[in-house]
């Protein structure tokens, strides 16, 4: 660090683009890698969707490329389906959305927005990426190992996860990935606390920075229990300890040779103690992005900046007290459920407050409908569907019926796909000029936007009906059960919508790479924004700001009466 501040010696290609310690390069490394993982996770789902829509028919084009034990005669096997499902969930959550939301956007934008020259620990930042990538590759490589990839769902409930093949590699890569996230989280916290520019008080930080800050606290506190839990599960598999296995198990007619004395529910508690806060890790940073874009394109301050910040903090605290709402019918004490029912309803209060503030922020604005803004606006109603459908799942009584049905799958995909991912894509359009000094093409952006939004509803909307009809999730062949037959048509609709969604990503990918070199050049502050990331050149040089900026005011001083321009940057003295 100290070294970097003295004269800029020439960095070699590897130092600059591969093992870089610059938060911006690391951010872009995270961006590309996590978008690729999202594509992989999506491709896995593409295969599964074929089986769901047309159970037992050979997968077109690709079916015969798979070894015969995975897809005999091109028809996916039950084991392969379960592997794809488990890996889809794991890749999307831990290798796709979290690294994109935190590793990519957090890394690139947070130091700029608080006026810092880099992260507090640049080398640790590099290490975090270089732990994430091997962890992810290890996870993917499990498809090639004997027995194939993990087959027990992304939740990996024992005893199934302990007797199923593939799980050992899953657990090892999880331990590596968690380590990477922890390195990142500590770095973000220290950076936010210590590296703010003069004048950048906490209450002058943009909402996006607050979101990253709360997210990092969640990661830091929630991941260690899962790391420990994973190590215990690893021991159950490798050394035949029985932390999660009761005695007297009989598996496929044979007594299981383990000592017993363990408890399968212990894993569920530890897993969800992480995985519920994890949901907010998936959601808060995208919400922060939406807030930035909305403030910028309404040309007025956000409504209820402090309410939003306090809501995020409240969500952060409460998210550690709701985990067992995923376990209402797991066999845990029925009266304990009442406690988690109440905490779940409490956490919905700050969540609604956040959404209310976003909607009220539109009031009085002068709304520009550019491409990033369209994504930010679409986030609001689509995320709301996700949030509202959470209500009957959080209520004990109605969850008896809806738990583990497609209703759940529909619910959280509205949250995470048409919510988080839509917002994250919006972020790409918004910050692209920052990264490359050029702008992404608007026409292609519009095609990508409308295509994605409509097809997403076509995928996840039907799932809500299927769930109400009683269709369970994780079914290799839904038509094996009578009550699923009337909703099978919806599976076909969802499958074709998913393939269309894939097609509509092509303009996005093309637009991204094409605009990197050939996009329209943009000025330093193309959106006429107020926050600090726009007060330095695009792309910013090593060290970001020519001299340490001083911050004079809050983040969203738009349309201040009596000024010539309608935006007043945080760094403008007057």
């Amino acid at each position: 660090m100290a070294h970097d501040n003295h004269g800029h010696h020439e960095l070699s290609f590897t130092e600059r683009y591969v093992f870089s310690v610059d938060h911006k390069v690391i951010g872009l490394q995270y961006l590309i890698t996590s978008f690729l993982f999202l594509l992989v996770g999506f491709a896995l789902m593409g295969l599964m969707r074929w089986q769901l829509a047309f159970p037992g028919s050979p997968i077109p084009f690709f079916g015969h490329l798979f070894p015969a034990d995975l897809a005999p005669n091109g028809v996916m096997s039950g084991e392969f389906y379960n592997s794809l499902g488990a890996m889809h969930g794991t890749i999307m959550v831990f290798l796709g959305v979290v690294p994109l939301a935190v590793g990519a956007y957090g890394n690139y934008v947070l130091p700029l927005q608080i006026g810092a020259p880099d992260m507090a620990f640049p080398r640790m930042n590099m290490m975090s990426y270089w732990t994430y990538l091997p962890g992810g590759l290890l996870m993917l490589s499990s498809f090639l190992m004997p027995g194939g990839a993990a087959q027990s769902g992304w939740t990996s409930y024992p005893p199934l996860s302990i007797i199923n093949p593939g799980q050992t590699v899953w657990l090892l890569s999880m331990v590596i990935l968690i380590t990477s996230s922890l390195l990142g989280a500590i770095n973000f916290l220290v950076t936010t606390i210590n590296m703010r520019a003069p004048g950048m008080s906490l209450w002058r930080m943009p909402v996006f920075c607050w979101a990253q800050f709360v997210t990092s606290v969640l990661l830091l506190l929630a991941f260690p229990p899962l790391e420990a839990a994973s190590v215990l599960q690893l021991m159950d598999r490798v050394f035949h300890t029985s932390f999660y296995l009761p005695k007297d198990l009989v598996i496929l007619g044979k007594a299981y040779a383990g000592s017993g004395g363990g408890q399968p529910l212990l894993w569920q508690h530890l897993f969800w103690f992480l995985a519920h806060p994890e949901v907010y890790v998936l959601v808060l940073p995208p919400m922060g992005i939406v807030a930035e874009i909305i403030a910028n394109n309404t040309r007025k301050p956000l409504h209820g900046y402090k309410t939003m910040v306090f809501s995020m903090i409240a969500i952060g605290v409460m998210s550690f007290m709701v985990w067992a709402h995923h376990m209402f019918i797991s066999g845990m004490s029925a009266s304990l459920s009442n406690f988690f029912l109440v905490t779940t309803m409490i956490i919905s209060v700050p969540s609604v407050a956040l959404m209310t503030c976003l909607v009220f922020s539109l009031k009085g604005g002068s709304i520009r409908f550019n491409v990033p803004m369209l994504f930010a606006l679409a986030f609001i109603p689509l995320f709301a569907i996700g949030g509202l459908t959470g209500l009957p799942l959080g209520l004990t009584v109605t969850d008896i019926y809806l738990h583990d049905t497609y209703y759940v799958i529909g619910h959280f995909h509205f949250v995470v796909v048409s919510g988080s991912i839509i917002a994250l894509m919006g972020g790409t359009y918004y910050w692209f000029p920052k990264w490359y000094g050029r702008k992404m093409n608007d026409k292609l952006g519009l095609i990508h936007f409308w295509g994605s939004v409509i097809t997403m509803c076509g995928i996840f909307g039907p799932m809500l009906f299927m769930g109400l009809g009683g269709a369970s999730r994780r079914l290799y062949d839904p038509t094996a059960q009578l009550h699923n037959l009337p909703v099978q048509g919806w599976n076909v609709v969802a499958t074709y919508s998913a393939y269309l969604l894939a097609l509509f990503q092509i303009p996005f990918i093309y637009n991204f790479f094409n605009s990197m070199w050939r996009g329209e050049k943009t000025p330093e502050n193309p959106w006429q924004a107020t926050t600090l990331e726009w007060a330095c050149p695009s792309p910013p040089p090593h060290g970001n700001f020519e001299k340490t900026p001083t911050v004079y005011r809050g983040p969203y001083e738009y349309s201040v009466p009596g000024r010539k321009t309608d935006f007043w940057m945080q760094t403008d003295k007057n």
Partner: protein, 285 residues
Amino acid sequence: MGKYGWTLPVAASSYAGKIDFGIWLIHAAMLGIFVLWGAFFIYLLVKFRARPGHNAVREDHDDTPAHISVPDSISKFPFAQMLYKNKGELKSLIPDMVIMTFEVALIVFYAIPVWSSIKSSVPDTKDPVRVEVVAEQFGWSVHYAGPDGKLGPRKMELTHFSNPIGLDLAHPDSADDVVMGNEMRLPVDKTVLIDLLSKDVIHSFFIPEFRLKQDAVPGLSIPMWVTPNKTGKYEITCAQLCGFAHSLMRGDVFVMTQAEYDAWYQSRLATKPASAQPTNPAEAF
């Protein structure tokens, strides 16, 4: 089909109606909230769209804390003062409060009482049907206690292909017991007390028409109950991923009149061989 469709299947147990009530009530509320907010959202987008001659207006300056003078009546109460000074921001919490009130009402008057009646207590019944359901990869064994109301004991060592739940056939309590694979027959309008167990991994016992779902956890015996109130044929499915054939793990439930049920039970007992060979639910695989 009739029984099944795009939304909830036919309701065939005494508490199904209560659960459906909640599901429909909440969906009505959700729809209402979504439509109202949606309309407001679209209105805002149209009214405040950027256009020549239209400028953004910051929210009323007088509403910011520094510009609000506190009435004398609350000058002694710092907390009330703080609230009053922030009334501009707090106003936006009104929709939240409305939703919260709805949620509190749901919890107090619906969720907690109904949940307790379904999951934490059993209705008073004299001579209920007593059953034990034992899950395994990939089937269900339904073990009836018979007229004596006592389930014969099970021993892991006795587990055998022909005796999937390891029932101790020598024990007197087992004498009138019947074990069925992937099939459950129940008399209508009579409460069934079920103990749910699993031999291997976690499964979930789900009968959509009864709105009954409960995970079966190895090592635990989980009590549950249901009172079927419509005769007919329904479906048992497994709702928790339990392995490669999870989707094939299903069974049938036949709800019949008491007389039909008694006749069926006697016929099962009569055909029960001396060494009792219960049907193995995993036979299909």
